[in-house]
């Protein structure tokens, strides 16, 4: 037998929703119809499907003719009463100064972070809005797979080959803009030489993007080879004017005649808007490369996909599908030209470049949705925590407001009126908090921007009318969020009961919830502070990490294309300089140069090694220890490389000289097609960054190549650093008047390599402080409230002879238990997170310190105890006679 169908009911909330929005006149019929269909569907399609259909239908009835028009009278009452609500809210705020202050300060602190996020998001979404055809511009992105493996995911770049193929054969595209990396160098005009950076670009650029030319014709500006378009700023820098069409400059890009070509200025464009995802000082015509790079086979190779950014202007958005299909065909055709390689092409809308996922090989700095998300979630927690405070305190104090609500209801206020009143009150408080939080926002803005260099490049955070509107909207939202629960709570109050007997109010009902809130807030506080302390410990550990050589007092100077000998000669005159060496890169800060090293006797015995090109002084200055053999000897001029110094790890992993350093000396290995004799074995050192997990940094070799030097490593013993620096700068300026001196101490460079960690440390400690502040403020409110309500109990206890200490214990016991529970949850969670997740991601972590785990909890606990102590002591010290006499 079939189940008795009418016993199954449709979802109640859907019915309620319908009866909420539907006109009373139509309601009965609609409900009846839905019910009839529901019963039918239960028989035919089963209960779950029937429920689904019921819900969908209930939603589908939401049409203009079914929706209930707001009742005019009710609206009028709301309108009339707003004045009254504002007045009573104002009174209530003034009457409870402490609680109002607690609420306003708590909300203000948390909202300042919210404002920061809003400002940040608005900046990010303002990117690239100035392009008139922005919604039709897409970027071609590429994924490189070798033997079925992709190491990087999608890149912002594609090959020039793909760009040209798309330009020639694809349909559905109006135009293609191609930008190629590295049109950079010193632009020379007369005596002036100014270093500028930019891209090679094709003529399509000015058709796809809305960059405006002040001088020149956008159609032809980038057409002829050896044309250059300058930005207004660059033109002013070089010539002091913008009327420079047709003048020629020499672009100095390095050694050799091929690198110093003459370019004609064919255009001057308006400076780029701040919110442009690509930034450049000048553009060179891409057709130039057809002349200069004509010989280069790699130029048009299908797998040379690291240097070109391609943007398409689609005819309309519907063309996307067809283009994707053509991508697949193109890949299938071209993959055959390169063995084992598959390149997948994709499309990315212009708008996603700034706000979407972070891609490799970006054309300019982007924020990445990951960072935005993390930051958003953190600030949401902070705002939520402050809202909880408000909710918590309001419900706890409902005792005092309930009689007012009772009277309102007795003279005819509806539930919705009461809800309105309390939401208006919380919105007023949130708006007051907005004023303070705006001040805080202005205060923290510069600090936030200086956290990381990329933030300064990306964001402005300038105030706009839109932003002010967003801020106010945000404040109202926070107000509603904070006030909704108290409002619903008060709306439920039964007028008769409240007016008859005050103790009938269900204050006790919310107790568990309030306890959970306190535990939650303190749990988050403890997690935040402990996490920050652990990251701080790791940071200190990595900064001071023993790399296996010394970095003390070494100043690394970037040569910037100048002759090493020349700079060296100049610097050697300074008495502070104790020694100078040369190197092709700075190790241990995250730079890698790698090559393959092979054992000539065994083709299988080969491995990737990291290397640095140095001179004969390098090892001495950096205090590298040689375990066997000798250092390089000075050899002048260009010599064929024939010697190499390797580290222990190399000896261990290669089958050379019985893996014994002493015996390895004199053995020959093959590197880059050259036979090289091992002349020394050095102690292991950290080639990579101290926290890099990559194993490649372990096997490191030193090659002799002073003519490849990019840096001078200058050992300096100076008592007056600023003066020494200005002396070095003077010497530099005499040698290179064009480029600014870039000299940094090695220790500073290592710190810079951990810049990201330092920034997250700063953000973390700031948020931890905020969260603790908010939790403390909330706790303070709760303590004040609960001790005040227990004043009479305390007085009676005192009369019967309870001592101060005893009272203190009784009053604070409840809170202490909550704090204890919070730390019992918070500490293990933090420890597990770092031990299982975070510290596994980094190499060479320091073990989590006992000190770091405890200090945070003790600090939070201490603060809480201080508040509980002072408040309870105040109550415990009252004269019982004063309290009890009033009865």
């Amino acid at each position: 037998m079939m189940k008795n169908a009418p016993d199954i009911f449709p979802p109640r909330w859907a019915t309620r929703l319908l009866s909420w929005y539907c006109k009373p006149a139509l309601l009965e019929d609609l409900e009846g119809d839905l019910n009839e269909y529901f019963q039918r569907n239960v028989q035919a399609k089963g209960v779950t499907r029937a429920r689904m259909i019921y819900i969908l239908d209930a939603l589908k009835f939401f049409r203009p003719y079914t929706v209930r028009k707001p009742e005019f009278l009710n609206l009028l009452i709301h309108y009339v009463m707003i004045g009254s609500y504002i007045r009573t809210s104002g009174r209530s705020i003034v009457r409870n100064k402490l609680f109002s202050a607690i609420n306003i300060i708590g909300l203000a602190i948390s909202m300042s972070v919210g404002l920061l996020i809003i400002a940040m998001l608005m900046d990010l979404f303002a990117y690239d809005n100035f392009h008139e055809n922005g919604d039709r511009i897409y970027r071609v992105i590429g994924k490189y797979e070798f033997s079925g493996k992709s190491d990087f995911g999608f890149m912002a770049t594609t090959s020039l080959k793909a760009a040209r193929a798309i330009e020639e054969s694809f349909t559905g595209i109006d135009d293609v803009a191609i930008l190629h990396r590295d049109f950079s160098g010193d632009v020379t005009f007369g005596e002036q030489a100014i270093p500028l950076r930019g891209f090679w670009a094709n003529e399509g650029l000015f058709r796809v993007f809305s960059f405006r030319l002040l001088q020149g014709d956008p159609v032809t500006a980038l057409k002829a080879p050896f044309s250059v378009v300058l930005t207004e700023k660059s033109a002013l820098k070089i010539f002091g004017e913008v009327d420079v069409l047709g003048k020629t400059v020499i672009l100095h890009r390095g050694e050799g005649p091929e690198q110093n070509r003459e370019y004609t200025i064919t255009g001057v464009m308006k400076d780029l808007p701040v919110f442009s995802h690509m930034k450049f000082d000048m553009l060179g015509s891409l057709s130039t490369r057809q002349v200069t790079a004509a010989e280069d086979k790699r130029e048009m190779a299908w797998d040379n996909m690291w240097n070109t950014w391609t943007y398409l202007l689609l005819q309309d958005e519907a063309a996307v599908a067809g283009i994707r299909e053509n991508f697949v065909n193109l890949s299938a055709k071209e993959d055959k030209t390169v063995p084992h390689t598959h390149i997948e092409l994709g499309l990315q809308p212009l708008k996603d470049i700034m706000t979407g996922e972070d891609l490799g090989n970006p054309i300019g700095t982007t924020m990445g949705s990951k960072v935005v998300n993390i930051f958003g979630i953190l600030s949401f927690i902070v705002v939520l925590s402050a809202c909880l405070n408000y909710t918590n305190l309001s419900i706890a104090r409902s005792f005092r407001r309930s009689r007012e609500v009772g009277i309102r209801k007795a003279i005819g206020a509806l539930r919705s009126h009461v809800i309105n009143q309390f939401i208006i009150e919380s919105v007023i408080i949130a708006l007051m908090a907005l004023v303070f939080s705006f001040g805080l926002f202005l205060l923290i803005k510069p600090h936030f921007l200086s956290l990381e260099k990329s933030l300064q490049e990306l964001l402005v955070l300038d105030l706009s009318p839109m932003m002010v509107v967003a801020f106010i909207f945000f404040a109202i939202l926070v107000g509603v969020l904070a006030g909704i629960f108290p409002a619903l709570f008060f709306a439920r109050i039964n007028a008769v009961q409240v007016l008859k007997n005050l103790s009938a109010i269900p204050v006790l009902k919310g107790v568990t919830m309030r306890k959970v809130m306190i535990v939650f807030q303190y749990c988050i506080s403890i997690i935040a502070i402990t996490a920050t302390l652990i990251i701080h410990q790791q940071y200190k550990h990595f900064i001071a990490y023993d790399l296996g050589f010394t970095t003390e007092n070494i100043l690394n100077i970037e040569l910037k294309g100048n002759k090493a000998e020349l700079v060296k000669k100049g610097l050697e005159e300074l008495p502070e300089v104790r020694g100078i060496s040369q190197s092709s890169l700075i190790v241990s800060i995250g730079n890698y140069w790698g090559t393959m090293m092979r054992n000539p006797h065994d083709p299988q015995d080969s491995a990737a090694v990291s290397y640095n090109l140095i001179d004969e002084n390098y090892l001495t200055i950096h205090d590298h220890k040689l375990l066997a053999g000798t250092n390089f000897k000075s050899r002048a001029g260009k010599v064929v490389e024939s010697e190499v110094i390797v580290n222990e790890e190399v000896i261990k992993s290669f089958n050379i000289g019985d893996r014994d350093p002493a015996k390895a000396i004199g053995q020959v290995v093959r590197i880059d097609g050259k036979n090289m004799t091992i002349i020394g074995v050095m102690r292991d050192f950290n080639y990579g960054r101290a926290n890099d997990r990559v194993q490649e940094g372990k096997k490191a070799i030193m090659r002799y190549g002073p003519d490849h030097a990019q840096y001078l490593n200058v050992k300096i013993l100076s008592t007056d650093w600023p003066e020494t620096y200005s002396k070095i700068e003077n010497i530099w300026k005499k040698i290179d008047p064009v480029h600014a001196l870039e000299a940094k101490f090695y220790t500073q460079q290592i710190e810079d390599a951990f810049q990201g960690m330092k920034a997250s440390l700063k953000v973390g400690s700031f948020l931890a402080i905020l969260i603790i502040c908010i939790a403390s403020i909330g706790l303070l409110g709760m303590v004040v409230y609960s001790t005040e309500t227990r004043l009479r109990e305390v007085s009676i206890r005192k009369v019967f002879g309870a001592g101060e200490m005893r009272l203190l214990l009784i009053l604070s016991k409840g809170f202490l238990v909550l704090l204890f529970i919070a730390s019992a949850i918070g500490l293990p969670v933090t420890w597990l997170f770092f031990d299982m997740v975070f510290l596994r991601e980094v190499g060479n972590p320091a073990p989590i310190g006992f000190f770091e785990m405890c200090v945070g909890v003790l600090a939070v606990m201490g603060l809480a105890l201080l508040m509980i102590g002072t408040q309870t002591l105040k109550v415990a010290r009252t004269n019982p006679a004063d309290v009890l006499r009033g009865e």
Partner: protein, 110 residues
């Protein structure tokens, strides 16, 4: 007053109401439409049309009896008003006239 011309679906619904005589309420109309016209009619769409027809004055409605299948809710029965009847007749006349003017209409193989 809104336009009084009759849309195609409105006409079909109106005819269905007339055909169902005393038994025309929303669910029955839906079922009948599906059966006779052969197109599945969505409840929400039919309701909207009924509402529009009532606004134009072509149908009037009254509440009927409550049944258990409807969760104790009453049905709303629709009847075609004189205005509605006039509109239907006029529609038919227009069509008949046009039909008469067509000399020959057969389906040919293309």
């Amino acid at each position: 007053m809104k336009g009084t011309n009759l849309g195609e679906f409105e006409e079909v619904v109106l005819l269905t109401i007339a055909a169902l005589v005393n038994d025309a309420y929303s669910v029955a109309i839906c079922d009948e439409l599906e059966k006779s016209v052969g197109r599945p009619a969505k409840l929400g769409v039919v309701h909207a049309v009924l509402n529009r027809l009532e606004e134009k004055g072509y149908v009037k409605s009254k509440l009927g009896e409550a049944t258990k299948t409807r969760g104790g809710k009453r049905k709303r029965y629709y009847t075609v008003t004189n205005g509605g009847k006039a509109a239907l007749i006029k529609m038919r006349e227009v069509r008949d006239q046009l039909w008469e003017r067509i000399p020959e209409l057969t389906l040919r193989k293309a």
